[in-house]
């Protein structure tokens, strides 16, 4: 269904994405192996990670990171970030930022008259953003995907 509106605020109503092709069956009460599945009749719905991890597929991008400055936030080298560009930046969010034309990922911390980009690793120092910097929040990090096996 399409939603039209005159009000900009109404933009947080999203058209559903029906194109995802990676559903997994969700069985609410577990299945035991080795027996013709009695659960067949209880299949409810399907979990679709695309849908769960991207609230707004139109503005969502995946980014692979390198580096160690965010390891205390659970972001390690080679992890994949799910980044939503439509989300508003705010204090405490982890953001993909453009500082003087260069990408970085840091936690946003606002102060009275300036903004700090905080690393999550004691070995790194915060970056103070002033009027002299060219600064853009490119997108907000919503999930971190890690490979563990």
């Amino acid at each position: 269904m399409l939603i039209a509106s005159n009000k900009y605020r109404a933009l947080n109503i999203y058209a559903p994405d029906m194109e995802s092709k990676s559903p997994l069956p969700y069985i609410s009460h577990g299945v035991s192996a080795g027996f013709p599945s009695p659960a067949q009749d209880f299949m409810e719905t399907k979990i679709d990670l695309n849908r769960e991890l991207s609230k707004n597929p139109l503005s969502t991008f995946y980014i692979r990171v390198s580096g160690n400055s965010m390891i205390d936030a659970g972001i390690n080298n080679a992890d994949i970030l799910v980044v939503d560009r439509s989300m508003e930046p705010s204090n405490g969010k982890i953001a993909v930022c453009l500082v003087d034309g260069e990408f970085t990922v840091k936690r946003l911390v606002t102060d009275t008259d300036c903004l700090y980009l905080m690393p999550e690793n004691k070995a790194y120092t915060p970056i103070k953003i002033t009027e002299n910097n060219q600064f853009v929040v490119w997108g907000i990090v919503t999930y971190v995907i890690k490979k563990v096996a």
């Binding site: 399409l2 939603i3 039209a4 005159n6 900009y8 933009l11 109503i13 999203y14 058209a15 092709k21 707004n56 139109l58 503005s59 991008f61 995946y62 980014i63 692979r64 990171v65 390198s66 580096g67 160690n68 400055s69 965010m70 972001i75 994949i80 560009r85 439509s86 993909v96 453009l98 500082v99 003087d100 034309g101 260069e102 990408f103 970085t104 990922v105 840091k106 980009l117 690393p119 790194y124 120092t125 970056i127 853009v136 490119w138």
Partner: protein, 426 residues
Amino acid sequence: MYALIDCNNFYVSCERAFQPKYQDRPVVVLSNNDGCIISRSEEAKAMGVPMAAPEFKVRDLLREHNVKVFSSNYPLYGDLSERVMKIMELFTPNVEVYSIDEAFLDFNGITIENHNNYGQQIRETVAKWIGLPICVGFAPTKTLSKAAKRIAKKFQDKTGGVYVIDTDEKRIKALKWLKIEDVWGIGYRTVKKLKAKKVNTALDFTEPHLEAWIRKEMGVTGLRIKYELEGKPAIGDGQVPEVRRSIATTRTFPKQISDFDLLRERITTFAMVTAEKLRKQQSCCHTIIVTLVADKHKLNNPKYYYSRAALLPFASQSGITISNAAVTLLKSMLAETESVIFKKAGVIVTDLIPENTRQFNLFIDENPRHMALMKAMDNINTKMGDRILRLASQAKKTWDMKQEMLSPRYTTNFNEILQINVDSKQ
């Protein structure tokens, strides 16, 4: 009201969205095979890089000004285009995609308090969500919305990228400004005739005394343009895009080819790709044309362009049928040509009909299993990418395209997503 949205320097902007360091630098994008310039940033336009120029002709200029050159990355452009169009659907249910970077939005029946603000909201959403700059033109007709967009883009500093033609005064002012050759739908030849009649602007075109001439020379299409410019909608839904009448896949070879097996491989591949395009737009073809271009400078024989057509006994969209016909054509051509070295070849299909109106031939018909096979092939190739299923007579790699300055497929291939060093700027 209608709105036309248009992405500014679309291909260049797509590249910049993921490589922001080129935001203020001159950038161009080259066509398939790195042949011609097909998109230029404003900086590149300002330094006199002409549109559609072959790359080798402007190479020195590009180098001298340190212009960043990209090969075309259609998977990326296609994905971002789709996102832009879907964002438009949040603003009106009636979106008519006109090209990869343009769409008409129909707001008839929808009340908008302030068109300018609304246009700005559309712009801001696209800029924030996917990082692309667009311009928006509002007007009571499609043709006028094209003109409004032109004004929005041309005077971006003043308009902020949005222009609304909502009074007759503004309409007249726009028509006075709009050159006749820039009116949407008026072709090059007609412009010449109109200029001979001292019609230089869109406003001149709407002069009442011209109506009879327009009717005689341009028919109903010309009258429609006239009404649209006068603010009376005459181009309705779906009347805009023309269904393609032929589909071609042609390439210049990176190295000239004289070997028959190599030529046959290329022709088979072009035929397969063409058949895929046919299926994508749900058409079948009746006629197949194969073209070969020899290097005219290396020939004593002045004839260097060869082409031959075959009529199929039935309309087809099967890659097997089409490539068989194309290879048969190739063989018969080679038997009669004196040239042996070719630098370019192509497969063109024409005589297109919609697939659901295909008539079956009583005596000779296509093997019905082709259809299922092609469907399976398309499904697998869409899923796996890189045209992984192909005919045995095709080479392993479908494209030996020259793409020396290709950016990653950031949004369509998981192995090529944007990489960021989180430690930078410490």
